[in-house]
């Protein structure tokens, strides 16, 4: 699945400056999984504390909470289900991304 755009972009940009077009895969896994969280946990301050914002929250804290929800150690309504939908690796990737965002 390639864009018709890239060749044009490269041609326009490179002109006569030939260079090998090596396409590195830029992994957006953390960003894409964190986007799931953002639907409910957005930093909209009008929402009050019912659903906490996650931007800038410590990664260890997010990972720990998700494990507690998943294992049933932390009472919850919806999170005990949703936490079961993600692997440890996916939770780590999303938590790293969220922790790096400015609150």
């Amino acid at each position: 699945m390639r864009s018709r755009y890239l060749p044009r972009l490269l041609v326009a940009a490179l002109g006569v400056c030939a260079a090998p077009a090596v396409l590195a895969a830029d992994s957006d896994a953390g960003r894409d999984i964190a986007a799931n969280c953002a639907s409910c946990h957005h930093g909209d301050r009008r929402s009050g504390a019912a659903i906490p914002a996650l931007a800038g929250v410590d990664k260890t804290m997010i990972v720990q909470r998700m494990r507690e929800f998943r294992d049933g150690r932390r009472p919850s309504t919806i999170m005990q289900q949703l936490a079961k939908g993600y692997t440890d690796e996916q939770i780590e990737a999303a938590a790293s991304y969220l922790a790096a965002q400015k609150p």
Binding site: A12, L14, A38, H42, A50, I78, Y86
Partner: protein, 430 residues
């Protein structure tokens, strides 16, 4: 800065570490080269799917993609929570949000209606004004109603007498006005079409909202649910418990009640073996993808909904055209919900950015559904699930263990439902 706001996300970041960086370096090395024009993405429809896609295309590209949103309404009105307007605990203004947040992010908004697509020329024609050109087109038109099978409702005049209130806005208010004008002792009849329809639990939530209003204001009145399906389509145990509990004597549920016709003047619904007389009728008609998404052979699932590649939401019938939200043929257990539409928008935005950069799309999309229903104006229940792409079946499947419902209605979940609404509106509209 918000979670999705992606601080420090510049054009350079958009272009990425691979070919993009090469372009940036090459640009600085070749000062004479003209800068390439920004890729153009046109989004038709500013609901949960289209608005989210438009916003995330701008956020995740650092503003490097030129995004145009074509929307016929002046403001967004949320279907989720609109049953509360019908129940009387919210006003339409509470669920209406302007599009300025998207405009501040650089989304160009055109108020109008897309009526045709020229795929080879990559242009969209509007009812009024010049055609709009695109590199990639996103169609998020929602659903159209099918009145063919209900002879008494074929004319617009007849339709005006029987509100569907299944697109939030004036129709929602029209139904509320009818309920307010109804005598105490009256009968409200709601008809549920055969699945698939937009938002599976919503007809039953609406029945609860109207019953809640009757309990408070019109205690001699009654709700009858005529369901064309053989059973309640979502949150069955929770709704049934409410009808047999707090709404006992107020709500009557009749499965397998396919509607043959409606007589708006006589205020009667015609079924196979009986006619049902009503004081207020609410027919939710059968649905299919919005007209623009049925163009060019895209409604290739029974001529009703649009098959898409779940990695990119590209139509399986048309290259460079993506379809989102209620217009798509969903995977099993993937409801036509606002939350799902929001998730489609993000997967599609990420895929389009990758494609415009010549990168592979995410091979393993993963997203969640969260859906709250108000049992009355204070207590709420949820259904939720996580869905992951299955490479073998090329579809989205529920991750085992993630699916489930509330054990019972609660006020705690009402607080979460309220926060959900505010946050997802922010997530899609800024």
């Amino acid at each position: 800065m918000t979670i999705a706001g992606v601080s420090g996300f510049t054009r350079r970041r958009l272009l990425g570490a691979g070919a993009g960086m090469l372009v940036v370096r090459a640009l600085s090395a070749c000062a004479n080269a003209a800068p390439p024009a920004a890729p153009k993405v046109v989004v038709v429809g500013g609901g949960y799917a289209g608005a989210t896609a438009a916003r995330y295309l701008r956020l995740w590209s650092g503003g490097a993609i030129d995004v145009t949103l074509i929307e016929r309404e002046v403001a967004f009105v949320s279907c989720p929570l609109s049953n509360l307007v019908i129940g009387g605990s919210r006003r339409l203004a509470d669920i209406t949000i302007a599009y300025d947040g998207l405009e501040r992010l650089g989304v160009r908004r055109i108020r109008g209606e897309a009526v045709a697509i020229d795929a080879p020329a990559r242009t969209v024609r509007l009812a009024h004004g010049d055609p709009i050109s695109y590199d990639r087109l996103i169609l998020a038109p929602g659903v159209d109603f099918i009145y063919d099978a209900i002879p008494g409702l074929r004319s617009p005049a007849a339709q005006a007498l029987v509100p569907h209130a299944w697109k939030a806005g004036p129709q929602t208010v029209a139904l509320r006005v009818r309920l307010e004008a109804m005598r105490d002792g009256g009968v409200f009849v709601i008809h549920v079409p055969k699945a698939p329809y937009r938002c599976p639990p919503a007809p039953y939530e609406r029945a609860c909202q109207v019953a809640s209003y009757f309990v408070r204001q019109k205690p001699k009145s009654k709700v009858i649910i005529l369901d064309a399906n053989e059973e309640v389509q979502s949150k069955k145990a929770l709704f049934t418990a409410a009808w047999n509990g707090r709404y006992k004597g107020y709500v009557e549920y009749r499965p397998n009640s396919e509607l043959l016709d409606v007589d708006p003047a006589g205020s009667t619904l015609k079924l196979d073996f009986e006619d049902v007389l009503a004081d207020v009728i609410n027919v939710i008609p059968p649905q299919r993808a919005g007209a623009i998404a049925r163009e060019l052979g895209m409604a290739n699932a029974n001529g009703s909904f649009c098959e898409v590649d779940f990695l990119s939401y590209e139509s399986t019938a048309q290259k460079n055209i993506h379809v989102l939200g209620d217009a798509i043929q969903t995977a099993p257990l993937m409801p036509k919900s606002g939350h799902m539409a929001n998730q489609h928008g993000k997967v599609c935005a990420a895929a389009i950015i990758a494609l415009l950069q010549g990168r592979d799309v995410n091979p393993a999309p993963l997203f969640a559904n969260a859906c709250y229903s108000y049992i009355d104006d204070r207590e709420v229940v949820h259904i939720a699930s996580v869905h992951a792409y299955d490479r073998a079946q090329k579809t989205m499947l529920v991750v085992p263990g993630s699916e489930g419902l509330s054990p019972a209605p609660s006020a705690d979940e009402a607080a979460y439902a309220e926060a959900w609404a505010r946050n997802i509106w922010f997530d899609m509209l800024g």
